[in-house]
């Protein structure tokens, strides 16, 4: 028999997911999608630049990411999900690559390219193993904990830009506070703080009034404040950091470096790459799930997983870093009426166009304003209303709080693992619960088991057995969904023990699988366990056995 990894049906399905599906060409409305793409581009440019800052890269890399990763994600996908630079992913990249080189140095950029390639590869592997659906195991409480934790970290990551203090790129918020408290007063740049705080106050104040444009208005106020400061104090004195002219090129081809030392670097990056791949895919999948719950559009989860993986895999060849689906941009995209991936393709085209045309005017954008905008974005990801609603259910709130506290104090990677575990614990507890209904059968007893009988529930099972000590027993497996080898062995041992005491143990197997497991264990230990396929047979067996073995009757 030849070993086939995949059936031809599965191969066809994989092939269909991997090819760009252009069925949306028939239902597109180019003019409307172009307008939506333009709005998306205006929204993504400040985000792209500040996410590049989070990832420790020069700003143009964020724009490349907003162009090429978005383009590939939309080409390979078949939905209105907008991929591209993402806060959590960018922050994780920055936290990981800083171990190998200083921010923005050539080696650092090489490291980011390697990491993005690894993320793409791992996501492709997850897609091949059909892993996309497992991200549904993240409970809503854990997802809220993750997004709140990311928002919290964003707030503190902006401190460096707002205060103008170097060396604040330590991972944890308490370290940042300690640095600011111990040596801050000499280092804090008062001009930068003024501009940054003004930007934040404007943005937060106008959030209710102008829900879509408050960030841009805040940026305008910040730029105005910085310009007025620079009218009295030159930049040489204020030392306020400016974005600077972007050395933008249309086709920024790059290749991840190759060689022995880079390979070792890649090996060391694998744990972080796995975490980034998981959190990136998880966000895309959560968005896709949200769209599926919404009416009107069906999203193929596996196809979106492939789109994300492929775009991250291609990112390092276009000077981009890895990205993922974006909550806020997808929401806006759908809100103003997109219904094909064309809007995302238009958005990446408009980012390209705007960068070429307006690139020169980004030069005088002060960094405190960028940091302030990022602060407003971070604040928006913390949703007190949802947290309050969650607080009413104690277990969910505990999941949320544990996730959040872990992210704040131990980093995003650890927080992710904790979130996954906490989401799984209710399932695990439910799966290991084994209930037993005792029915008297003559002098003996039938144990009717409900639940899963496997290594984790054997403890409960032996308790039930001990309650039926000193009498013949029928074990009824009709309501057991999952039955494993260790359970079969336990039953066999028990049968052996009871036989020596002179009592019978009969198993009524329900499925052929259970029967096969029991019989193979039986054959292995050379026992003679009685396995029958129905309760009726078991009862008959029990009674005949009693009649023959017990001479008193």
């Amino acid at each position: 028999m030849t070993f086939r990894l995949l059936t031809s049906v599965q191969q066809n399905a994989l092939f269909r997911e991997a090819c760009p599906n252009l069925s949306w060409l028939r239902r597109m409305r180019p003019r409307q999608e172009a307008f939506i793409g333009f709005v998306g581009a205006v929204l993504v440019i400040p985000q792209a630049v500040s996410f590049a800052y989070l990832a420790g890269l020069p700003p143009e890399y964020g724009l490349y990411c907003a162009i090429y990763v978005t383009l590939f994600a939309c080409l390979f996908g078949n939905s209105t999900i907008v991929g591209g630079p993402n806060t959590a992913v960018a922050m994780l990249i920055g936290e990981e690559v800083i171990r190998f080189a200083g921010r923005g140095s050539p080696l650092y950029i090489d490291g980011v390219l390697i990491l993005s390639l690894l993320v793409g590869l791992i996501q492709l592997m997850i897609w091949l193993l059909r892993g996309g659906r497992y991200f549904q195991y993240f409970s809503p409480a854990a997802v809220l904990g993750i997004t709140t934790g990311v928002g919290f970290q964003i707030l503190f990551s902006t401190l460096e830009g707002i205060t103008g203090v170097d060396g604040l790129n330590v991972p944890f918020f308490f370290q940042k506070i300690a640095i600011l408290m111990m040596s801050g007063e000499d280092l804090i740049n008062p001009y930068a703080v003024t501009v940054g705080v003004l930007t934040i106050v404007t943005g937060v104040g106008l959030r209710r009034l102008l829900p879509r444009t408050h960030i841009l208005v805040a940026a305008a106020v910040g730029i105005l404040a910085a310009s007025s400061i620079h009218a009295f104090q030159p930049q040489v004195i204020t030392e306020m950091e400016m974005l600077g002219r972007l050395p933008f090129s249309l086709f920024p081809f790059s290749t991840p470096p190759w060689g022995n030392d880079y390979f070792h670097m890649a090996l060391e990056m694998i744990p972080a790459a796995t975490a980034i791949a998981v959190i990136g895919l998880a966000q895309t999948m959560v968005i896709a799930k949200g769209i599926n719950l919404d009416h009107g559009e069906r999203v193929n989860l596996d196809k979106e997983a492939f789109a994300q993986a492929a775009s991250n895999f291609l990112a390092p060849f276009f000077s981009s870093f890895a990205g993922s689906g974006s909550f806020n941009r997808t929401a806006l995209n759908r809100q103003i009426g997109a219904n094909t991936p064309l809007s995302g393709i238009f958005s990446s085209g408009f980012v390209l166009l705007l960068s070429v045309v307006c690139g020169a005017y980004f030069a005088y954008l002060p960094m405190p304003v960028m940091a302030g905008m990022l602060f407003i974005v971070g604040l928006a990801t913390i949703k007190p209303m949802e947290i309050r609603r969650l607080a009413q259910v104690r277990q969910e709130f505990a999941t949320f709080a544990a996730t959040f506290v872990t992210i704040a104090f131990m980093g995003l990677n650890t927080g992710l693992v904790v979130a996954l575990l906490l989401s799984l614990i209710p399932f695990i507890l439910g799966a290991t619960r084994l209930e037993c209904k005792r029915v008297r059968v003559g002098p003996g007893m039938a144990l009717e088991l409900h639940g899963n009988l496997f290594f984790a529930s054997l403890d409960q099972f032996s308790t039930y057995l001990s309650q039926a000590e000193g009498m013949p027993v029928i074990i009824d497996l009709r309501h057991v969904a999952y039955f494993d080898n260790s359970a079969a062995e336990l039953i066999l041992r028990e049968e052996h023990r009871r036989r020596q005491q002179g009592f019978l143990l009969v198993v009524s197997a329900h499925t052929s699988e259970q029967e096969a497991l029991l019989l193979s264990a039986n054959a292995g230990q050379a026992g003679d366990l009685a396995v029958v396929s129905s309760l009726q047979e078991a009862k008959v067996l029990l009674k005949t056995a009693l009649a023959t073995t017990d001479p008193d009757r």
């Binding site: 009218a231 040489v236 050395p247």
Partner: protein, 278 residues
């Protein structure tokens, strides 16, 4: 016992001789050494920054475009990528930090580089931890290998032109400029395919060190015209420096605020010209 001692002695003498011969050749960081870095399969953080710093110095307009406002390169003044004596060589890491009267505070090498961006490159002042600044300071450290910390390295800065007894005269300088310099630098000082612009919006601003007459006179006397260095008399060099001093150029960012804005607008509307080679 004696044989062992003798062997030790001979070995140690041999090592010291080898060190004596090899050390001076290995100490000063040379350009060949920097360029050979590019051929290595892997560079650690420091060496990759050294190579990046070297590329920034020789191709400033393209690679450091974030912070550069004009069309100059570092290597237009720091000749041979900062390795030629008497042409502001860059092997000066041992001289920093030091107090400078230009800004009245203690200057690390980082602040010194940032001020170059603000004045000589007439651009924005980058932050202390900008990758460009870190790379150039790594390059400076690499070139400074073998120099004594706190001691002025040989060929530092530019030669001091001695007092000739006459004031520098811009009018005479103009004559000399048209005769000797305009072939490469152009009649209007806007540079050519093989020489940088000397004044106008594409040159250094009034806060730059080159704007000081003693500095530019020393530089001109020691390094200009290319291929025929030190052919100008001290007085001619001073006159040319004075001539350059009175030309129109970007204003000092410390003094003129609205003027800077105006210049930036002018520059963004003027047609883009091709880059100037080294």
């Amino acid at each position: 016992m004696k044989v062992k001692l003798a062997r030790h002695l001979i070995l140690s003498i041999m090592f010291s001789v080898a060190f004596w011969i090899l050390a001076p050749a290995a100490w000063p960081g040379s350009l060949e050494e920097v360029e050979s870095l590019a051929k290595r399969p892997f560079l650690d953080d420091y060496l990759s920054n050294v190579l990046f710093g070297y590329r920034l110095v020789t191709d400033t307009t393209k690679l450091a475009a974030r912070y550069v406002g004009n069309r100059l390169r570092c290597s237009n003044c720091h000749l041979d990528a900062g390795t030629r004596a008497g042409a502001l060589p860059l092997h000066v890491a041992g001289m920093y930090p030091k107090w400078r009267d230009k800004n009245g505070r203690s200057n690390g090498v980082g602040l010194r580089i940032r001020e170059c961006f603000a004045y000589s490159m007439d651009g924005l002042m980058p932050p202390e931890n900008a990758p460009e600044v870190l790379a150039i300071s790594a390059y400076i450290n690499f070139l400074s290998k073998g120099q004594v910390i706190g001691e002025a390295p040989p060929g530092r800065g530019v030669p001091i032109v001695p007092d000739t007894g006459f004031e520098p005269n811009p009018a005479n300088g103009g004559e000399v400029y048209r005769e000797r310099c305009s072939v490469c630098h152009g009649d209007h000082g806007d540079g050519s395919s093989n020489a940088p612009p000397l004044w106008g919006l594409n040159s250094y601003n009034k806060g730059a060190g080159m704007h000081r007459i003693p500095t530019s006179a020393g530089f001109i006397w020691a390094n200009m015209p290319v291929g025929n260095e030190k052919s100008l008399s001290h007085q001619q060099a001073l006159d040319v420096a004075a001539f350059l001093h009175v030309q129109l150029r970007p204003s000092d960012p410390r003094e003129s605020r609205l003027g800077k804005l105006f210049e930036k607008l002018m520059r963004s509307f003027s047609p883009q010209q091709e880059q100037i080679p080294q």
